[in-house]
Symmetry: C2
Subunit: 250 residues, 2 copies
């Protein structure tokens, strides 16, 4: 169970992998983690994507873990030479790394001794002081050390690991949101929408243009942790839109 407090809980995601930066693999993890964290009341504040390059991973991880309540990494925990996340995390924390008996035991459940080769045993190497993150899909675990959660890059496995991690996290007051279809172009509503934003500094009002068969349109998203502020700001947005629609009829 999450323990919710009045404190704002923040997070960053660190995506590790040359294949994302080359464009070969399109990331599917950032959006999923973002959505799940928002749902439970954790503010995702930053995402970084870095290559399979140890000093770069170490620097990014140290920057993020000192700045946010939690960090979630994806990628680089498989059995091949380019899987260097565990080593980079150990270096970032300044701790040793070795085969973890709990992780070895998990791998032994799926690999007979003859196939538990050196490469597969790499997946049992964890930084000293880590806790395991259960992998219900393919056994090889992720791990948590300090405020950093290290997960697989394969989306299906990452999703399963995140399911294990989320209930262990502290959460803050959820950001509530309401989406209002403007039936107007962004440029028509920009000035009055800015006035409403100014009137509700504790809400955050976003304006998202899109285009479909019917032409240009806009979604307005009002967000606040306070349900009353949300309701009032959303009501003002609706009145503003009604006035704009009305003025077109004249």
């Amino acid at each position: 169970m999450n323990s919710e407090s009045a404190e704002i809980i923040t997070a960053a995601v660190l995506v590790i992998g040359d294949e994302i930066l080359s464009g070969r693999t399109k990331d599917q993890n950032i959006g999923h983690i973002a959505e799940r964290l928002t749902e439970i009341g954790i503010d995702l504040r930053e995402v970084r994507v870095v290559p399979d390059d140890e000093p770069v991973i170490v620097d990014a991880l140290n920057a993020l873990r000192s700045r946010y309540t939690y960090v979630f990494t994806t990628g680089g925990i498989g059995p091949t030479h380019d899987d260097i996340t565990a080593d980079a995390v150990a270096k970032a924390f300044g701790v040793g790394i070795d085969h973890d008996p709990r992780a070895v035991a998990l791998l032994s459940e799926i690999f007979p001794a003859a196939s538990l080769n050196e490469a597969r045993m790499r997946m049992a190497r964890l930084p000293d002081g880590s806790d395991l993150i259960v992998n219900t899909v393919s056994k090889a675990p992720g791990f948590r050390i300090g405020n950093v959660h290290v997960m697989a890059g394969v989306p299906k496995i990452m999703h399963a690991m995140l399911d294990e991690v989320l209930p262990t996290l502290r959460t803050g007051p959820k950001v509530l949101s309401e989406t209002i279809l403007a039936n107007a172009k962004e440029g028509e509503i920009g000035t009055p929408l800015g006035d409403i934003q100014a009137a509700y500094p504790s809400a955050s009002i976003g304006s998202y243009p899109f285009q479909n068969e019917a032409g240009y349109n806009t979604n307005i998203v009002v967000r606040s942790r306070d349900p009353e502020v949300l309701a009032q700001a959303a009501s003002d947005v609706r009145s503003m839109l009604a006035a704009i629609w009305e003025s077109r009829g004249q």
Copy 2:
């Protein structure tokens, strides 16, 4: 036309927008930019996603623009109060910002004077010293200042702006790549694949597991700027795989 040199040209992407961090909008721009840069011989080295928060944007932009040859930003250049990218870029460069006559002229082409309101005029506010990036989709331009290219967040518009920008960039030697389907699990090939990587330090060999109806499989991607190194390393990978398949038949 791109001017290709032996120098390695690097880049970073800065995605700006609360809606990506809340998970409401799933980013579609990172993968596209990554692919296009790789194609023309520019190494994408880092991506960051930050919220609509001026000091945070300024810090990220200054970190990235000092570190890489080029920076590409997406998002936050529309007509509403939450579009603060141009102001943040001006602040990062320590220059003023004002309505740019060239941008005003472009907006005047599509908006009659009566609808070119204060909100829409925001889209003509550019940092001093900027060049315009043509927007063939909806006119409101992006802009370039120094090594920073500021583009829209709406994918269709961003794609069009990137088409304009790419031919103006310096490029380096392209990274060539070959993808080899392993017909093996990652853990079967990890050790010999690491040996091949060690034999070709100027190549970069990645191993990407995936799962389909037939079970677990792996793509091996060999990358190098040198076609001969690429061919030799790829050939060694194929021989290694053939030996593994052969050993299964015994």
